[in-house]
Symmetry: C2
Subunit: 404 residues, 2 copies
C-alpha cells in the first residue's frame, strides 16, 4: 500500500453525517423488531423544521438577475459583500475586520476550514486539536501530512468552562506545535469555553508563537444568556496569527447555499485565496448574494430560533438524564449533544447501524470525534421538537436491548 | 523559507482569470494614451452576453422549495440527479455510467479537477501534462507534491489534430508516469484531438498502465461540424483507469451556480467523495437541482449558441490573422483563442497590465499555460460580438505601440 492508498484508507466517510444512506447493516445480530415513529436524522439539522432566513430565496434571485458581476466574483468573494460582512463581523466579534485583506468567502464553513488548514499545515507540522472536537479537524491534519497532537477536554468535569486540559495544551505548545484548532462552542458537546480559558489559550499562543484557528460556527446560538468570549475580541494575540471561521449554515439554516467565511489574518487569507483558485474558484457566485441577509435577520427572528432550540435541548436532556446509565453534559450553545451510553454488546459503529435500522434514528458515532469515545454518540437536535424527543426515547429503548 | 512557504510562493494567483482587479499597474512606462471603447474582460466568458440556460432560475427555486432533501445530499450529490445525469452522460460520451458508483457532482468543474487530482497524485508521483494546457493543471500537480512531466503540443503544426508529441508522451509514460491529464478541446488553444490521437493516448495508457483524466469541459461546443472523440467512448482503456470531467459553466453559462461533474472510475470517485467530505461537503444543495436542465436545453438552443460563438471566432480570427506578426490557430471547439504576438518591449505580464490600463481589455498571459509561452495570451471570446471584435482591434493597436 503506497502513501496515497494509506492516506485515503484513513479518510473514512461512511460514518460521516449524511452518508448513512451508503451504509449496509448486514451481518448484525439484531435484537427485537423495529420501533415505529417518525424517522429522525440527527446527523445534521433539519432545514424543514428550522427553515432558512426569511427572504433568502428572494435575495438569491436578485443576485442571479445581477448577472455577470455576481456570477464571476474575485476568488475571495465579491467586494461589496465582503465590505458589508466585514462591518457586521467586526461588531459581532469585537475587533476590526479590513474588507480588502481580512475576509474571504468560502463554499460553506467546511470550505473555510479546508482552506485554512491547507494554508497552515505542511508536511510534519505539529497541530494541536481538542478531543473531542469536530471530526474533520483530525482528518484535515492527516490529509495535509501534519502531526496530530491531541489535547484532552474533560467536558464532564469542566464546571465554569470546557474542561480543556490547559497544562497539556501548554505541553503541546512547548513541544513545537505550530497551529491550534478548536471549535467554540465545542462540537460535539455544546460546551462553551469560559472567559478564563479563552484568555489562557491566547496567553499560551502568544507566548509560544502558535497560530490559532477558532471555529465559531455556532457562536450565535448561545443558551441561557451565557457569556461568550471571542478569541479575536480579546486583542491579546498578534492579529496575523488568528483566523476565525463562521457561517450561516447552522442556526440560520442556509446550508443549501454552501456559504462560509473566514476572517482575521491577512497572511492566512492570502494563501487561502491562492488555494481556493485551484479548489473550486469561489463560493457559488449567485449564492454569495444571500450573505447580505446574514446578521440582518428580521427583528426577533434569531432570539426566537435560539429559544426554540433551547426548549428542545431541555426536553432531550431531561429524557436522557432520566435514563439508567446515560451521562450527558448540558450544551451551553449550538445544536449538538454528546451523550455517553451505558455499556452495550455492540461497538458504537454497529450500534448506530442497528439504531438506524430498528428505530429510524441516525446519529454520529463518538469515535468520529476521537478514538476514545467508543461509548458516545452525537446528535444535532435542530429538528422537529416532538419527533426529536420521541426519537431519543426510541434510542434509549434500543440501547437497553443491547445492554451487557 | 519552509516547504509550505515555498509551495504557496509557487501558487501565484494574481494573473489568474478574474483576479485582475487585484493587480497594480505601477512602475510601467506606458506609451501613448488610453483607447476608448467598451471594456472587455476576456479572462472568462460574459454571462450577460450569453445568458444561462432558460429556466435555470425556476429550477433552482423548485429545488429550494424541496427543502432538506435538496439541501443535504450525499457528498457525491443527490441520488435522483445522479441517475438522470448518468443516463445523459452515457449517451453523450458513448459508454455506460453507473449512477451509484460512477458519478460525482462537484462545486464547479474546478472542484471536480481538484478532487480528481487529490485522489490520484501523491508525493513524488509523476504526472504528465500537456504544454500548453489549463493553468490549474500544473498548479495542482505542484500542490499535491507530484512531479510535473510536460509533453509538448505543436498546435501550429498539428493539421489533423492537436500536434501532441506522441513519441514524447510514450517516453513520459515509459519513465513511470502514473497519471496523464489533458483537456480536449484544449485550453487555451481550442484545438481538438484527432481520433487517431485519442486512440494513441488510449493505446499508450493501456500499455503502460497509466490513469487518464480527460477534461472535456468544452466538448459540447464543437465548430464546423467536426468529429469529436471521447476517450471513454473508445472502450480501449480499463474503465477504472479513466475519469472524465465536464460541467455546465461554459457553453451553458451556469457558472454562477458552481456545478461540475466527474464520471467513470469508481475507484477514483470513491476517493473523491472522501476528499469532498473535508473540502466543502458537496456542491451547493439547492444549486444541484439546476443540473436537471443540463443536456435538456430547449430545442435548438445549443445549436444557436454554438453558431453565435463560431461567428465571433471567425471575426476575431480574421482580424488577428490580418495583423502584422500575429500568429493564431483557428479554434475547433470551445471559447478560447491563443494568439502569438510579434516581439514587443514588454514582458507578457506587463503587457497584459498595460492592455488593461490603456485599452480596458483583460487577457490571460500565456505563461500561465506553460513557462515557454512568453509571447502569447489567451482570450475567452464568449462575449458581446461587437465589443469583442473592437477590443481585439484595440489589443493589436497596443501591441503595435510596444513593438521592438
Amino acid at each position: 500500500m503506497n502513501r496515497l492508498d494509506d492516506k485515503f484508507a484513513r479518510l473514512g466517510v461512511d460514518s460521516a453525517p449524511g452518508q448513512e444512506v451508503r451504509q449496509r447493516a448486514t451481518g448484525l445480530e439484531l435484537r427485537g423488531g423495529t420501533l415505529g415513529g417518525i424517522p429522525v436524522d440527527f446527523s445534521h439539522g433539519d432545514v424543514d423544521a428550522f427553515t432558512p432566513i426569511p427572504g433568502s430565496l428572494d435575495t438569491f434571485t436578485k443576485g442571479f438577475h445581477e448577472g455577470a458581476q455576481q456570477a464571476y466574483t474575485e476568488y475571495r468573494g465579491r467586494g461589496s459583500i465582503r465590505e458589508s460582512l466585514a462591518e457586521k463581523l467586526a461588531a459581532f466579534s469585537g475587533a476590526p475586520v479590513e474588507p480588502e485583506s481580512e475576509i474571504i468567502l468560502t463554499p460553506g464553513t467546511q470550505g473555510a476550514l479546508f482552506l485554512a488548514m491547507g494554508a497552515n499545515v505542511g508536511r510534519g507540522d505539529k497541530v494541536a486539536i481538542v478531543e473531542p472536537d469536530y471530526f474533520a479537524n483530525r482528518k484535515l491534519v492527516e490529509f495535509f501530512d501534519g502531526e496530530l497532537v491531541p489535547v484532552r477536554m474533560d467536558y464532564f468535569g469542566g464546571v465554569n468552562g470546557s474542561g480543556l486540559d490547559l497544562p497539556a495544551l501548554e505541553d503541546a505548545f512547548r513541544s513545537g506545535v505550530k497551529l491550534f484548532l478548536f471549535s467554540n462552542p465545542n462540537n460535539p458537546t455544546g460546551v462553551i469555553y469560559g472567559r478564563d480559558e479563552v484568555i489562557a489559550i491566547a496567553t499560551l499562543a502568544q507566548k509560544y508563537g502558535v497560530n490559532v484557528i477558532a471555529d465559531e460556527l455556532y457562536s450565535r446560538q448561545i443558551f441561557d444568556g451565557r457569556e461568550y468570549t471571542h478569541l479575536r475580541g480579546l486583542d491579546m494575540l498578534d492579529p496575523d496569527n488568528i483566523l476565525t471561521i463562521l457561517g450561516p449554515s447552522k442556526t440560520e439554516s442556509l446550508s443549501g447555499f454552501r456559504l462560509g467565511v473566514a476572517f482575521g489574518s491577512p497572511r492566512m487569507i492570502e494563501r487561502m485565496e491562492k488555494l481556493q483558485a485551484i479548489v473550486s474558484l469561489r463560493a457559488a457566485g449567485y449564492c454569495q448574494a444571500v450573505f447580505t441577509d446574514w446578521f440582518s435577520e428580521p427583528e426577533g427572528w434569531m432570539a426566537q430560533r435560539i429559544a426554540k432550540h433551547q426548549a428542545i435541548r431541555d426536553d432531550i436532556y431531561t429524557v436522557l438524564t432520566g435514563a439508567d446509565g446515560f451521562r450527558v453534559r448540558l450544551p451551553e450553545g449550538g445544536s449538538y449533544l454528546f451523550p455517553q451510553i451505558p455499556e452495550i454488546k455492540l461497538g458504537i459503529g454497529d450500534f448506530t447501524r442497528a439504531l438506524r435500522v430498528q428505530a429510524g434514528v441516525s446519529v454520529t458515532p463518538g469515535t468520529e470525534f476521537g478514538p476514545q469515545f467508543t461509548g458516545s454518540f452525537r446528535i444535532n437536535f435542530s429538528q422537529d421538537h416532538g419527533a426529536a424527543v420521541a426519537a431519543i426515547r426510541r434510542t434509549i429503548e434500543i440501547v437497553n436491548r443491547y445492554r451487557v
